[in-house]
Every structure is written in structure tokens, then in C-alpha cells.
Symmetry: C2
Subunit: 429 residues, 2 copies
């Protein structure tokens, strides 16, 4: 029964019950945090043997190079070999960096601003009024980079298989100030959507007014499935080569959510021209990445199969948490017409869309009851969700028991705020 079919009296009664339920839950004095996509201690434990896998006796490369010393600005060859397979590129199409792909993305933007990219007519900063396409909802750190560096962000809706390509194609065809688009192609943050081949193909093929348009392809969750093996996603670099746009994509990956989140290995893959350009830019700011940590990763995984086997263990650890989120949503909110939510096959998030103008209040109420959620609006550029309806849930860090408790509070808040909103909207003016 949809709440909108309830009489005013029935609505009031339901709100009364919801308020009572919320008050009861608040008295539990919970302290739970579902704000960020952080791995749990159990997940981190899976990689602990990596910490002591390299010592003084085995810190050299296959060619005898001492990885304790300076040098090798773009990463050790053993790591390039492994992660080239991981990113599905060749070893001259990849740079292995430090511990953060976010740094590599930020540096790519700064490099574009200060020096331009292959295909640029000059540094972006000299072109004025530059813009970037942001599929929404999306990742707050992506949007923060654009805002910080003065890119005007243009929202485009995310669908179940990628961004609204009609909108994207129209935008980029005419406006040379649009320098790129953010994409999280697999298990997107936060919706969990995986890009279809058709959408990847259209991104590779579309005409762009900017000669130096870039797809920032942040494949952060490429092996992060929930038990049924990774989704397949098209190789955007190969598609772009086929369509004569080899320099269009910059692909990013990392092991932050594979091994240890603070001590992983980040990478950028792209055309040889882009890699050469990035390496030239990198020269001025580093003598080389932490090669020992790269070697730890190579030794720990052995090969790509080893990495994929490791991700099966990660999936076994986190799948029950996603199930707990979904079970609570189904039990408490299904069929009520108050919210819809995603059922991701991988990634780190569940995305919930509640009735318009309710998200911020739900998040606020949940916080007051001891359940911290990602701040309202965080999944949109400038922190502004135009409909105030999207909420990101991050279930990996808490235990299943904590998630059950947190979700009880969350669902109670959705019920309370959304039913109140219905009463408001039905009240006589």
C-alpha cells in the first residue's frame, strides 16, 4: 500500500509510530560509521603477509637492480608486467606510482592546467572557463579536484549502464572548453553501475570539440566483485585506438582496496603518448616511487591469477555486509514508495534514492541517533544534490551486526522523514 493512498489520520498514526520507533532506537546510543568506503580490519588482514615478504635478501629486481635505491621513475618492470595485465594494457602503456591513484588523477589535472596534454593547443589554464562533465551521483573526491582547480562541473545523469550519452555527446560536440569526463566504469561509486559496451563505445567514438578531451577512467573497483566474479567492462583504451582517439582515455587503478588501503600501489594506464607525457611531467617532482612496496605487491600476488584469487577472499568477507544492507532495505522499505536502492554486484557502496527533499534530513536524523552517513549532497558536484534525494551507504567497514543496527536506524529515519514529507505535500495549501 503506497503511503499516498493513506488518509490524513492514517498518515498521522504512521508518523507517530515512526517517531516512537526513532526515539527508541536513539536511546541505544549507537556509534556507527557508514560514511566512507574503507576496508574492514578483516579485509586488511588478508594482505598482512605482504608486509614481511620483502627483506634485505630479496630486494632486487630480476635484472639485479637494487630497489632500495633511487631511480626508475615510472615503476619497476615486475610491477608493470603484473599491473599491465590488471589494467589490460601493454607494459609501455602504464606508470606505477605511489600509494594513491587520487594523487595521479590530481597531478594529471594539474599537468593539463600548467602544461596541457598531448593534443592540447596549450596549457588549459590559458584557455579560461574550462569545464568537466560529472556523471551524478558520483565520487566526491573527483568533484573536489574539479572544484579546487576551477573547472566548471556539468552534471549528467548516471543510468544503470553508464552516463546519459545523449546528453554527453551533445555537450562535448559543441563546447571546446569541456576538457573531459569522470567515469568509474565498473561498480560505479555510488550506484554500482557497470558501463555497457555500447556506452563505452560511444565515449570512444563521440566527436569532441576539444582536441585534448580526456576520459578520466577511474577503474577503482575493477576486480571488486561480491562473489560472482568481476563484471566485464570494455577496454576503453582499445576502443579509443580503434576510433582514432588513442589519447582520449587516462585509466587509473590501485590496490588501495585490494591490499592495504594506505599502503597500496597506484597506477595510470594510457596511450604511449600520454604515458610519455606523464613521465616527462613526473620527472620534476620525483626520483621514483617506493619500489620496495611495488615489489611487495608483485611477490604477494605472484601473478594476475593470484590477485584474482585474493579478491575472492575479499568478496567472501564483504558480500554478507551488502546482503545485510539489502535485507534491511527490503524488510523495512520494500513496496512503500519511499525509496529505491541499488543492488550492486561489486564495489563499495549502495546508493539509495529517497523522496525528493528528504535526504539531508534523513542523514541528519541518523547522525543524531549515532549512525554517521556520507554527508548529504556529497555525491554531487559542489556538494549540492539538486533533488536532495541521494544517500550513499558504505557497508564494508562495520561488522554485519553493526550494519544490522545501523540499517534499522537508517530505515526508521527514511520512514519518518519521507512519510512526514508526504503529509506536508498533501496538506492543503
Amino acid at each position: 500500500m503506497s503511503p499516498s493512498s493513506l488518509s490524513p489520520e492514517e498518515l498521522s498514526e504512521r508518523i507517530g509510530k515512526a517517531e516512537q520507533h526513532y526515539q527508541d532506537l536513539s536511546r541505544r546510543n549507537l556509534q556507527l560509521d557508514m560514511t566512507r568506503g574503507k576496508p574492514s580490519p578483516e579485509q586488511l588482514d588478508l594482505s598482512d603477509t605482504m608486509l614481511s615478504i620483502v627483506d634485505g635478501s630479496n630486494c632486487k629486481g630480476d635484472d639485479g637492480t637494487d630497489y632500495r635505491n633511487y631511480g626508475i621513475g615510472t615503476g619497476i618492470p615486475e610491477a608493470k608486467a603484473l599491473f599491465a595485465k590488471f589494467m589490460d594494457v601493454s607494459t609501455d602503456e602504464i606508470i606505477i606510482g605511489g600509494n594513491a591513484s587520487l594523487t595521479m588523477m590530481y597531478d594529471a589535472f594539474v599537468g593539463g592546467l600548467l602544461f596541457g596534454m598531448p593534443g592540447s593547443t596549450g596549457p588549459w589554464r590559458e584557455q579560461g572557463g574550462i569545464k568537466f562533465i560529472c556523471p551524478v551521483p558520483g565520487y566526491d573526491r573527483h568533484f573536489a579536484i574539479c572544484e579546487r582547480l576551477g573547472f566548471e562541473m556539468i552534471n549528467v545523469d548516471m543510468g544503470d549502464d553508464g552516463p546519459d550519452m545523449d546528453a554527453v555527446e551533445t555537450l562535448v560536440a559543441d563546447d571546446a572548453a569541456i576538457k573531459g569526463i569522470w567515469c568509474v566504469p565498473k561498480y560505479s561509486n555510488p550506484t554500482g553501475a557497470t558501463y555497457s559496451d555500447e556506452i563505452a563505445g560511444r565515449l570512444a567514438t563521440m566527436k569532441t570539440a576539444a582536441p585534448d578531451f580526456r576520459i578520466f577512467w577511474d577503474n577503482a573497483y575493477t576486480v571488486h566483485h561480491l562473489g560472482d566474479g568481476p563484471d566485464r567492462v570494455a577496454n576503453i583504451l582499445e576502443l579509443c585506438k580503434e576510433t582514432g582517439n588513442p589519447d582520449r582515455p587516462l585509466m587509473f587503478g590501485s590496490t588501495s582496496k585490494v591490499t592495504h588501503a594506505g599502503s597500496g600501489v597506484a597506477m595510470m594506464a594510457a596511450s604511449v603518448a600520454n604515458i610519455k607525457d606523464a613521465a616527462e611531467k613526473l620527472f620534476y617532482s620525483t626520483i621514483g616511487p617506493d619500489k620496495i612496496n611495488q615489489l611487495r605487491h608483485v611477490r604477494f600476488f605472484g601473478d594476475l591469477d593470484g590477485l584474482l584469487a585474493h579478491m575472492e577472499k575479499q568478496a567472501a568477507s564483504i558480500a554478507p555486509k551488502f546482503s545485510a544492507v539489502d535485507a534491511a532495505l527490503e524488510k523495512n522499505l520494500a513496496g512503500k514508495g519511499l525509496a529505491t536502492w541499488t543492488k550492486p554486484r561489486g564495489g563499495y557502496f549502495v546508493s539509495v534514492d529517497v523522496l525528493d527533499d528528504c535526504a539531508a534530513e534523513i542523514i541528519d536524523l541518523a547522525g543524531k541517533a549515532g549512525v554517521k552517513l556520507t554527508p548529504a549532497g556529497a555525491t554531487f558536484p559542489y556538494g549540492k544534490d539538486p533533488k536532495d534525494s541521494n544517500i550513499r551507504l558504505a557497508p564494508t567497514m562495520p561488522s554485519v551486526y553493526e550494519i544490522e543496527q545501523a540499517m534499522e536506524v537508517f530505515c526508521a529515519c527514511v520512514e519518518l522523514v519521507c512519510v512526514r514529507k508526504l503529509r506536508e505535500s498533501e496538506a492543503p495549501e
Copy 2:
């Protein structure tokens, strides 16, 4: 006997001998490298126990924070406590970063360009025609950053106790486009000079036309003595606080030449205002540094005394190499009027000044005989040594035996090229 007192016949005979000596040495087919300030394998061995000092059982901070996970953008408190002492600042005056202080310096420049610094009237990029003072000879990577980012470099001579402050004071007093000065205050690269208190005081006190003038105080060799304990150098931050210029210095340090060169820990120390500004800038490009590697360093050293004891071992390893360089120079070149050289008490280099217009040819000849030296001009902005007279020797990486061989070649090249030059200069026009 000075060569200039020799007759033309005597000069020719001496050149003939020098040519013969060089030919003999060339036939040894040496392959030696004294180009870069890299630690030797023996030095690196000293830190090998660090590699396995942190494992899954002890990867938490004193407050229970799991350092395997995301977070703590400016470094773990244990590392701040240790390296604040190392840099002689308080724990709120330091950021502990990744593996490269070069990256922190580059990022500081880029941050100034894009956003300005505390005290700036706006981003440096909007001010046009910005400049930087470069004491010469100096560090090529410093100069590369300035050149890359479009700073006009102004040479100022280095003396035995720091840069020519009369020149510096005159320059900065009138020109607001001069945004800062590079300083390697202890065992300077390449001359080995340590700044006197007087010069540090003048740097802290001097009037600068730019309100956001910065001293880039790259204290890369602060504990890197050759056996007699570290030189004392003034605390530039304290001096600048006393003179009302607390935001003037940005101090950099790292363990690249303390533990493992590729896997060390870098740091920036400065006023609280500068640190807050840098942390805000850092937010956009990272979730946090490699905290496990920071913890390794803390566990390995224990405290500052442990670090200093470790540097005694480093000194014992490299001091004989510097002695070998000096012995060769004394034996082959003393009293000849062809070259002068430094006798550093620490650091990584010996700086040799040969007769004008001879350095490039000496380096070229040595290379042809199998001894690679730092490229001519590298110690000057734009790679241009105005007198073509400075040569940097980096003795840490080769063995003492290799250094003896390399120095025999080097001295032979100095003899040959410089005596030839004397003949040229004395030849009738």
C-alpha cells in the same frame, strides 16, 4: 711550480705526458659512475631490518588507529613526534609525507602558482614574471623545478658559509617578483658548505619586497656528517619567528639518504599557518601517505638518538670514500694551480673548481675513459655554468677501490685539459 711559469717547451712536454697517461688509463675500459648522490649497497644494508619490523601484529598506532587503512593526511603522530625533533620544530609544525621531499617541494611551488601562500596577494601565476634566487653552484633538481614552472632564476654566488647575502638582500629588497630562495643549509649540494648563524640571521631578517617570500630550506643532509658529528645550523624557523617573519621558511627533510633511498619518508616543517595551508592543499590529492612505512621508520629508529646512532654507521661507511677522493686530488693536483676543491665535513659531494672553460671538456674526456661524472653545468640554473669551471663528484655509490680508479682518470683529465688551456691562453695571438 705553477704551470704558467713553464716555458712553451716544458708545457708541451707536460701535455704530451698527460696525453699518454690519459691514453693508458683509457685502455683500462673502466665503467664507473660518480654522477649522482646515491647511497651504496652497504649503506642500504644498514636499514634492512626495517623492512620486516612492521607486520600484521603491530601495525596500529599508540591510540589504536589501524595504519593499514585510509586516513591521516599529514602523517602519523608517532612519525610527527620523531621527525619534529629531527627538524627541531613542534609537532604542529610538520607534515610527514611520502617517499620524496622533492615531491613536497614541487607541490609547494605548484601550490604557490595555483593558489598562493599565506601572505600572498593571490596565486603566483597571476603575478607574471616571477623569479627565484638560486645560490650557485647548487642542486640541479631544484633548478629544474624553477625552470619547469617558469620561474626566472637569478644566480647568487655560494661562499664557504652560505650565499652572498649582500647580493641577496639587494635583490629581494626591491623586486616583489622574487618569490624565494633555494637553500641547502648544511653540507650544501655540491660545495658542502654549512650556513653560518650570521647568514641564517640575515635571511630571516632581510626586508623582502614580496610579502610572501619563501626560503626553501632543503635540509637534505642535516645528520649526514662524515664522522665528527653533524654541523650545527641555525633553526631558520625560530629565527624567522623572532624577526616577525614566521611564514618565510619552508623546511624540508627526508630519510632518503638515511634509510632506503627509494623508500624513505619525507617531511615539510614550517609555521602553523604554512602547515595548515599545505594540509588544505594536500587534501585534494591524497587520502593520506603510506602510514605503514612511516611506522617502520619510527620502530626502526626508536627515537632521535637511535637515528643519530644510525648516522654514525653511515658516516663510517662513506668517510673513507671522501678520503679517497681528497687523497687523489691532493696527490695529483695540489699546488699545480689547475683546480681547487672542497673538503666537506658531511653531505654527498665534493665540488671541484677547475680553470675556466675546462669543466665540460674534462667531464667529456672522463666519460670517454669510462668514468661518468655529473654533466657539465648541472650545478647551475638552465644547466649553464657561466665559467664552465665547476665539477661535482659524488663518491658515495662506488667502492673505495673504484673511487681510486675513477679519481686517477679524473685527475688525469684535469691535468690534460687545464694544461692545454694554459698553453692556449699563453699562445701568441
